[in-house]
Symmetry: C2
Subunit: 408 residues, 2 copies
Amino acid sequence: MMIERNKGFANLAAGYLFPEVAKRRREYQAKHPDAKIISLGIGNTTEPLTPHIAKAMADYAKSLGTAKGYSGYGDEQGNAELRAKIAEVLYPKMAKADEVFISDGAKCDIARIQTLFGRNVKISVQDPAYPVYVDGSVVVGAAGASSKKGYKGVTYLPCTAENKFFPELEKIPADSIIYFCSPNNPTGACATKAQLKKLVDYANKNGCIIIFDAAYYAFIRDDKLPRTIYEIPGARKCAIEINSFSKLAGFTGVRLGWSVVPSDVKFADGTPVKQDWNRVMTTLFNGASNIAQAGGLAALDKEGQKETKALVDYYLENARLMEAALTGENFKKAGVKVYYTGDSPYLWVNFPGWKSWDIFDKILDECNVVTTPGSGFGPAGESYLRFSSFGHRKDVQEACKRLSKLVL
Amino acid sequence: MMIERNKGFANLAAGYLFPEVAKRRREYQAKHPDAKIISLGIGNTTEPLTPHIAKAMADYAKSLGTAKGYSGYGDEQGNAELRAKIAEVLYPKMAKADEVFISDGAKCDIARIQTLFGRNVKISVQDPAYPVYVDGSVVVGAAGASSKKGYKGVTYLPCTAENKFFPELEKIPADSIIYFCSPNNPTGACATKAQLKKLVDYANKNGCIIIFDAAYYAFIRDDKLPRTIYEIPGARKCAIEINSFSKLAGFTGVRLGWSVVPSDVKFADGTPVKQDWNRVMTTLFNGASNIAQAGGLAALDKEGQKETKALVDYYLENARLMEAALTGENFKKAGVKVYYTGDSPYLWVNFPGWKSWDIFDKILDECNVVTTPGSGFGPAGESYLRFSSFGHRKDVQEACKRLSKLVL
């Protein structure tokens, strides 16, 4: 005998979506060494950090080399000044500094958050959805073996053109964890206040906890749309928010995120979830990099806010260019439908009669453009591709030119 | 009904050791606002980053603000150049680059590593030990409720003056995960090659996997002592090594560590542990900060190695000063015994007739010096204090002066 494997890993379906995309790209490039491949696939930021923020981190790193500027371990929950700044700038009258926890990114928080709950907890996810919600559940054993219908123990909530990408809430079982992402990855849908109110009311009525992934909030330009779930009355009782500087300030490689856990969210036995989350962060984590946190502070001051708005505007303009290309005559004729809200970095595009991976391969082959197959995000994503607006302008323009010549 | 709490959190014994130490210090300071408290408690680095390393990170952060220098998501397992450098510098002929995984620190890796194993896995730990080994096991449910004897499902291996702080291996059950730390936190003991060979042989014979915490390896000055477990034949079959730049280069706040998982370590079903660890790192983690990784690369080049050696020498000199003070007449008379090897940042000091927290309070009260109570690391740590050599020289000198006047 020897040591047993955590069964969750055997249960995890073969490839994580993005490595598979990267593999196909690599293989194509190997066969066609001259192809100039452009990626509109993975949601990876491409534009430099803005000057004020880069300088803040460079200065901080430099100061770590001085007796006065050096600091060792900080609070595991994050620098108090940054926690207060996030509460003040992003959650005025909605959350307090001690309800904000700084982390090394949203993906890591999503992975850690599953440790909070009993192993028999029910999981509900939007379909399609960011794969990590479910993968994290499989690893802790809250979700079981996978089949064509998805993982055992997970309730999938189809978000389709028919329901305007907002799920039928009645499908959610009582006492469920609900992962909800808005602006949505991959559909780009942005829930309205009325929709989020329905979600919050349903959660409060049915003993559910919402894990609200707001990592793309900075892309919202419509003032009527909620940028945090705490704009909704009652959300402080049932919702945890996960957020990130990755898409806000280009910190995908720098690594910085945060979570909000209001004191009012409680477990069945009355224990505040915040108490255990504090324990997770202090026992199983050791704080985000102090250099990254200095960058986070700079991103939220007046100058940083101005800069990050311009940075996000750049990607939004990319998205508009892509929308124009994907609604061209060649696409229209083939019945292709582009769902784009103007408040998200992602375009969600339906190709009737195509399997996602087939149209992915065709566009890779004929346009040398990498996209992300919608089916990788869940069964309801079949026949869709996700186009990401993260890219250099000239690459996006070139990709659009190639796409406009595609024969479907 | 509502959502159940993970029972592990209820099982976790009240205070994590270091927050309790911090609390007592805070309360003492509040009552005695004029007291000039010196901390020889928590193992937090105090000296500035060395010039070459600080500059490398500042330059990297600055370059992130340029089109040429910007980078977004890196490989989740870490920058390929850094993985190769660690393999080359620290594990020549012992481990390959693809067996090295970069992380945001040893504590986080220790927390994540528990997810690898089946929930019924047996856990063996040195007693005393760094609390996170057991706390992490409690959270995933591999360890159960706590009592005076410790947590259910955990085998404690007393490391005492009698056995020269190396445990009786025969107490370890078959098919157990063995957490082993050398140079040891808190005892400062540094296992010899002969001792580690016994450990590796025992693990291989009994189906065990060793999690070898080598976070203090840079403090080893005796050339005969092993600096990695892979110096021992057979270790590649049974040992995972966890390591960190925190104590090596003062990265406690910068956050950077690594793990080594050789391809030869396997689960009962033959699956290589490395395969699942790769999945953990890619699915539940998203890479260490690219700025920190630039610093890690600098720490391992020629100039960086020279600088970090001098940095560690500084703390070793602190330790020698403390050793001299704690072996003074006043301590000798009271039967106090100092265990210090010269190859560790920690002094392990026995106060016969005292409970750890009582002597902690006495030294806080009479010397205004913060230490760490040995009992917080496990039952066998009772009557001990851990003295940490991380401090500014003048603070250490002042603490030594005060300690030399202590009446026991």
